[in-house]
Amino acid sequence: MGMGEYKTAKAPALLVSLGLGSCVGVALYDSTRKIGGLAHVMLPDSSLSGKKDFNPGKFADTAIDLLVVELEKAGANSKKLIAKIAGGSQMFQVKSDNSIMKIGKRNVEAVKMKLAKMKIDIVAEDVEGNYGRTIEFCCNTGKLTVKTIGHGIKIL
């Protein structure tokens, strides 16, 4: 899955996003029905968009809304969803007055705020830091595998 995309799948499928940096991968899962969804969020809020018609998958607020709608369409119970999130790194240290330079951290905050608003619990997370992550979400087990270069493998 690429930047700004979101997808749903049923067991035994794997949802994969390669090389997440400042982006945040948001995995949502209905364990009873074994239906999962993954969104690859690039930016915190759709109000940042310079125009009206934009890809809603890029922004935390709009992408998570749409992913939940897609999960419901696929047969998931939106009240039973749990979330696992990974990503939101600060790859480069940049001195700037512009707060958008801290985009990784802001993405994580926006994702957490949105999930709290939608009453979806975050059961596991591996966020921030200064390194990239490849994530694989297994729709059979609900496990999120996080692979890195030089920072090991984590299973959430």
Partner: protein, 212 residues
């Protein structure tokens, strides 16, 4: 959003900057440096990492932020093997693994600094725009992760990546340094075009394809 004529003008500006940068690099390395003619590209975000070996390929990234009359980001990407070859040329040392000492990191950052400063100096001379450049920052990681930062910044504006790309190829060992110039938004390039008199109106990007 941009006409063919305007894109050619942007390419020419890139060419002037990159030519100056290639000369600076050549002096630093005491070697002949070849440069590709810059290309202005509009690509889906995920296509960008393909030119440097795919999103999971380990690469060295050197990032510099440019602010002032224009806002944009400069990113150098050097593949793992090329990074080691480059260190051999700069520091006359050979190593097998991409784990850098402070000295090696500093040498690579300085290389980025010299190329980017030469590029910006030429751009600033030519356009009379006031531009200041940040200190370089370095990361060794997956290409996708390294690219995600400047691409996300541009993502506020468009749904595709809009960037200027060139390559510096060092004479002897075929080391390639990929150079990306990614504007904050389409206004940065419009301002540039207006400054050199190629464009007279304000750009208003109402289409959903990130420009052009």
């Amino acid at each position: 959003m941009f006409s063919t004529f305007e894109l050619d003008a942007l390419k020419e500006i890139g060419n002037i900057g990159a030519g100056n940068a290639a000369t600076a690099l050549s002096v630093m390395l005491s070697q002949k440096v070849q440069m590709k003619i810059p290309e202005v590209k509009v690509l889906p975000f995920d296509e960008v990492s393909k030119s440097v070996g795919g999103p999971e390929n380990p690469v060295t990234g050197i990032f510099l932020r440019v602010e002032g009359d224009l806002g944009f980001n400069i990113l150098f990407i050097i593949q793992a093997g090329d990074t080691l070859n480059l260190l051999k040329i700069i520091l006359r040392e050979s190593k097998e693994v991409l784990e850098l000492t402070a000295m090696e990191e500093s040498a690579l950052k300085e290389l980025g600094n010299i190329i980017a400063s030469a590029f910006i100096a030429a751009l600033s001379d030519f356009t009379k725009l006031a531009l200041r450049i940040s200190v370089p920052s370095l990361a060794i990681d997956m290409a996708g992760a390294i690219l995600s930062f400047p691409l996300s910044l541009y993502g506020c504006m468009g749904d595709t990546a809009f960037l200027m790309e060139t390559e510096f190829e060092e004479g002897l060992d075929g080391v390639k340094v990929h150079f990306y110039l990614i504007p904050d938004d389409d206004k940065s390039f419009s301002t540039l075009l207006k400054t050199i008199g190629v464009r007279s109106f304000d750009g208003d990007n109402s289409r959903g394809d990130g420009g052009i």
